[in-house]
């Protein structure tokens, strides 16, 4: 048994244990790493806002009111920040007061992706797929230092250095992890951002 373990340390898993799907996955992840080199630019509220007319402004007011009061997040927790997210959704810091209590199991029905925790490249592929599956309009929140910029794992080979390499991020919440209050404050800031959006311009 010891010899087998030492062999693992020296030369990695024996070739017999590496299946075809493992090789495929490794290749896919390497391609993703090569593809995601430059971060998506940040978009502060009011970014590239046109001059909408009266009709568009009225429609904007109605739509933004509806959108910002029913931001449904995806049920996705990656690491320890997820516990603060759970605490924010539980009864002490009640997210239902903001209309955000419905954590959706399906990305098709969700508006907000809270990236709560360390994103490894292996998970990054799945995360990007979840983001692609979400219907417009959609928003992304980077929660905690790992999702913001890799945090303490910045120099690790397997960690995404900031989730903005994978998808455009709307709001960053610093903290390691942030308190539930800090997360709720971030969601309130996101609501303010949604308020300023307009039909006249294309998102992203």
């Amino acid at each position: 048994m010891v010899e087998v373990y030492q062999h693992y340390l020296r030369a990695g898993p024996p070739a017999a244990l590496l299946t075809e799907s493992d090789r495929d996955e490794g290749q896919r992840i390497n391609e993703l790493i090569m593809r995601c080199r430059t971060p998506y630019p940040d978009q502060p509220p009011g970014f590239d806002r046109g001059t909408p007319g009266i009709v568009v402004t009225t429609a904007d007011t109605m739509l933004n009111w509806a959108r910002r009061n029913s931001v449904w997040p995806v049920l996705l927790g990656l690491a320890c920040c997820a516990f603060e997210m759970i605490a924010a959704a539980a009864s002490r810091f009640d997210l239902a007061r903001f209309g955000m209590e419905v954590f959706r199991g399906s990305p098709r029905q969700a508006d907000l992706l809270i990236v709560s925790g360390t994103v490894t490249w292996k998970m990054g592929e799945a995360l990007r797929r979840i983001y692609d599956q979400m219907a417009e309009p959609k928003w992304v929140m980077a929660m905690g230092s790992c999702a913001t910029c890799g945090g303490p794992f910045t120099n690790a080979y397997n960690v995404v250095n900031g989730v903005n390499l994978l998808m455009p991020v709307d709001i960053y919440v610093p903290g390691c992890p942030p308190r539930p209050d800090a997360l709720i404050y971030g969601l309130m800031q996101l609501q303010k951002k949604i308020e300023q959006e307009s039909l006249a311009r294309k998102r992203k």
Partner: protein, 159 residues
Amino acid sequence: MYGTGILKALAVTFKNALRPPFTVQYPDEKVAISLRFRGYNFAWYREKCTVCCTCAKACPVGIIYIVGRLQPNNAYYAERFEIDTGRCLFCGLCVESCPFEAIYMGREFEQAKYARREEFIDWAKKDGDPRVPSSWFRPCEEAGVETHYLQPEQRKVNL
């Protein structure tokens, strides 16, 4: 005797149903934060800082950027003091390591930003701004006791 079990259980339910809710109405009402909370908005004092960079060396993630300049009176002047709170762990090691009590943790947590660059706090640019220092690692601060550290006026810089 049947039914006692369910009555006991329902008693618990009704006891909790009559209890007042403990939800914190966050934006209006805030949770009491400890005086020693390790939060954002590090309070940094230019007059106490000697640009020894001990905080930058102690930082486990290396997010403190300091640029110093030597003044004619042989003291260093911090031209740039920046902390990237986006990567910060809020461990407080910079505060523990500071030999001159120049840096304190903050007591705020509401720091969500729309852009990555906005998460850098540059205290050297905000000299006159009010600071809310936390008494993390410096309990003298909350007790109002004088510290044993040398204050800037006690330090001899003209060598």
